[in-house]
């Protein structure tokens, strides 16, 4: 077997060994492929039927020689382009130029180009999975335009060339990043890329939503989007032209793909050593600030946890998500136009509280896992064992409460109704505090020793955390509805409404808090993996 084959074979072996490290039986590789195939089929098959009907209708609506079905395909291609460039580029930079094993691989008699190829393929295998979800769209499109079987094969060959264009651009940008960025800087950059992708997906959903509303809308929206989406310099336009057997499209897709792949392979594979060396070194010399600030020990912990929280992309993403999700919904009118004022005023805070509650558990678990990663260090400090926990619970609760306050303030300015959001935030704070402590317990009880900070809990832990988050959010929302919007409870007797929507949730919250603290008292948060073993 050649060297590239050996490197990829052992990478696959390492992936299939992951369950063994968790103390479970090893899962054969084909089982993973079956699971992934199942996931793909469960999403891909319904998506095919959804798009097949839509495309049949939209293939008849044509504007400037481009049908609405063509436009959908182009939008999907732009989506994949954005996804690969924005998310895979930092992933390639981290995985190719900063992966722990590159240091070791470079010491072996293996060429840089082989290492580069194996690491890029490895990254694309992990990051390229979403690209598969374009397949049902393409098949639905082929069905709608009555494409013969050989053209379907041709379409997928073109799609492979298209994906190579994206991969090559991604690799070249990653090489550029490796020449000036540091490891921590690239990791932090990933949070922004995730957000961009998220906003882009919402934007696409909104675009598709507006096209779906009614025929009048479709034509108006179509005419405004067609010139933007069908721009001649976009690879997605070349792809569409290639599908229509236009030679310029085929030549541009194949030619650009081949040229960029060769350039990327030659340039990036020869630059892996210098890129790697640059990223792991400290960079330019700087003089340190001589102004130190001494705080009280507890405040020092809080300050440290705030810094770690805002610098950890995965936690920051959890924090930003409940804020931007309702704002984007409002911005694109998904709730503003469709629902009544009451449902809009209630639904947006409710959604935000549900997201905040679920993410509070995970965010706390992530912050605790940073502390666990540091190992024995905290235990050597002259502080109480619970100080780090209170600090984390305080920081996470405050952060999520602050996010909700800011989000709801903006929404109140837009819609004018501030009472329900304010009351709901107030009722949420004790719930969030309890949930953040539950997050600590979850990290100990259901740790994911190889998941790192991004996936601190195993599957059971994640599910239990979600259930707890949903319950906590339900309690806070019920109390908020009773205090601020009890007119919608007019169908209930006043006493029953008071008991069901106010007393019962408060009692349940107290029970949840007592149980959480009792559970937490039984475990040593500094030794999560002892329990796992």
């Amino acid at each position: 077997m050649n060297q590239l084959g050996i490197l990829l074979k052992y990478k696959l072996k390492m992936w299939s060994n992951i369950p063994k490290r968790r103390g479970r039986r090893g899962i054969p590789l084909f089982a993973y492929i079956l699971i992934l195939g199942g996931v793909f089929a469960s999403i891909g098959v319904p998506a095919y039927f959804l798009f097949a009907d839509t495309f049949k209708t939209y293939s008849t609506i044509v504007f400037s020689g481009v049908s609405l079905a063509d436009l959908f395909v182009e939008i999907s291609m732009i989506g994949i382009l954005t996804l690969v460039l924005v998310t895979d580029t930092p992933a390639v930079a981290l995985n190719v130029f900063m992966s722990d094993d590159v240091d070791f691989l470079l010491s072996l008699p293996i060429s840089q180009s082989t290492i580069f190829a194996s690491k890029t393929i490895e990254t694309m295998l992990q990051g390229g999975f979403p690209a598969l979800f374009v397949i049902p769209i393409l098949v639905a499109y082929a069905n709608a335009v009555n494409m013969p079987w050989y053209m379907i094969i041709f379409m997928f060959v073109m799609y492979i060339f298209y994906f190579l264009i994206l991969t090559s651009i991604s690799a070249l940008i990653a090489l550029g990043i490796s020449k000036f960025a540091s490891r921590s800087g690239t990791q932090r950059f990933m949070i922004f890329t995730s957000l961009i992708v998220y906003v882009f997906v919402i934007l696409l959903m909104s675009m598709v939503g507006s096209l779906n509303s009614n025929t009048g809308n479709v034509e108006r929206a179509f005419s405004s989007y067609v010139n933007t989406v069908n721009a001649p310099y976009l690879p997605s336009t070349w792809f569409l032209e290639a599908l229509k057997m236009q030679w310029n499209g085929i030549l541009l897709v194949v030619g650009t793909s081949v040229v960029l792949s060769v350039i990327a392979y030659l340039v990036a594979s020869n630059g892996i050593l210098t890129g790697f060396s640059k990223m792991i070194s400290a960079g330019k010399r700087v003089t340190y600030r001589r102004n130190y600030r001494i705080r009280r020990p507890v405040m020092a912990f809080i300050s440290k946890d705030v810094k770690l929280m805002r610098r950890e992309p995965s936690i920051l993403f959890l924090l930003v998500y409940p804020a931007i999700f309702p704002l984007i919904l409002v911005g694109f009118g998904a709730l503003g136009k469709g629902g009544s004022a009451v449902s809009r005023d209630i639904m947006i805070p409710v959604v935000s509280v549900f997201l905040s509650s679920m993410y509070t558990v995970i965010a706390t678990a992530s912050l605790v896992s940073i502390e666990i990663k540091v190992g024995d260090f905290v235990n050597t400090l002259p502080i109480g064992k619970r100080t780090p926990l209170w600090s984390k619970a305080f920081v996470i609760t405050s952060a999520f409460a602050l996010v909700m306050i800011v989000t709801f303030s903006i929404l109140s300015v837009i819609f004018g109704n501030a009472l329900f959001p304010i009351v709901t935030v107030l009722f949420s704070i004790p719930v969030l505090l309890t949930l953040s402590f539950f997050g600590v317990y979850a990290t100990i009880k259901w740790p994911n020793s190889i998941g790192g900070i991004r996936r601190p809990l195993n599957t059971t832990g994640t599910l239990v955390s979600m259930v707890m988050g949903v319950l906590g959010a339900a309690f806070a929302d019920l109390e908020g509805i009773y205090v601020a919007n009890n007119q919608i409870l007019s169908f209930l007797q006043p006493v029953l409404g008071f008991l069901l929507f106010f007393v019962a949730p408060i009692l349940a919250e107290i029970v949840m808090a007592v149980v959480t603290f009792k559970l937490l008292a039984k475990v040593d948060w500094t030794k999560p993996y002892d329990l796992e073993n």
């Binding site: 960079g283 010399r285 130190y292």
Partner: protein, 252 residues
């Protein structure tokens, strides 16, 4: 002589495995105590127990006349620990880390700034503004050393502290530890570099299979074993000798 560290009948079981079998030793003020042993002998487990990181199965640890089990926080305020593998907060800068440690130990700001400046000059630390995640092993080691030495703790525990340090920094560390010991600190260090132990340590304890098999000054160990170099003494006590090693080499 003031005994700053007193360890009595310390034992640690991990399930059915006994990692440390009832060991006892003392370290006086002004003394550098070298703790040697082959891999897996129980050095790190012992150090984790006497620094309050690992709860012993039985036995007692007293540091600065304080029972570690009863007064863990008071004890930890008196000690400094340099682990063999520095694991630190990757998303903090070196400066923020020192500020955090200074706050936890309630240090005087002026004194801390002055000491940090001196230690940074000594260890050539010029990367405090960088994130710790971008540090090499040696840089992390220098940061941990700075964070411990800036406090001048009464008792310093070092686990393979010179690993990862350049020759100059290692030399400065050795001289600084001697100076701190001469000023009244007690220093407990583990090392695999027997030359360091030979040159630096006032007393040496050798642990093997969880038991202290020899303890004393270098002269005492020499007299007891009849060997001159610490390497020969160590190999002899831990069940190997020159001939065994030579046979292994010949067979390879």
């Amino acid at each position: 002589m003031t005994e700053l560290v007193k360890v009595s009948n310390l034992r640690k079981d991990f399930g059915k495995i006994t990692a440390v079998k009832s060991i006892s030793f003392k370290i006086n003020a002004g003394e550098i105590y070298g703790f040697l042993g082959p891999n897996g002998a129980g050095k790190t487990t012992t150090m984790r127990m006497i620094t309050g990181v690992l709860v012993p199965t039985s036995g007692e640890v007293e540091i600065c006349d304080l029972d570690l089990e009863k007064y863990p926080i008071k004890v930890k305020a008196q000690i400094g620990v340099v682990p063999d593998e520095p694991k630190l907060y990757e998303n903090m800068t070196g400066q923020e880390f020192l500020e955090f440690i200074g706050s936890i130990f309630s240090m005087d700001k002026t004194e801390m700034t002055h000491t940090i400046s001196e230690l940074c000059d000594a260890f050539e630390v010029n990367f405090l503004d960088k994130f710790i995640g971008d540090y090499s092993h040696g840089m992390k080691q220098k940061l941990v050393l700075t964070s411990v030495l800036m406090r001048k703790p009464k008792v310093i525990f070092l686990d393979e502290a010179t690993v990862g340090l350049d020759a100059k920094s290692a030399k400065i560390l050795k001289m600084l530890l001697r100076k701190y010991a001469d000023e009244g600190s007690a220093i407990f260090m583990t090392t695999h570099v027997l030359e360091i132990a030979e040159k630096m340590c006032d007393r040496i304890g050798i642990i093997n299979a969880g038991e202290i098999i020899a303890e004393g000054t270098l002269t005492e160990l020499r007299n007891e074993s009849g060997k001159q170099s610490l390497e020969d003494i160590f190999l002899n006590l831990t069940g190997s000798n020159e001939e065994d090693v030579k046979e292994i080499i010949d067979n390879l």
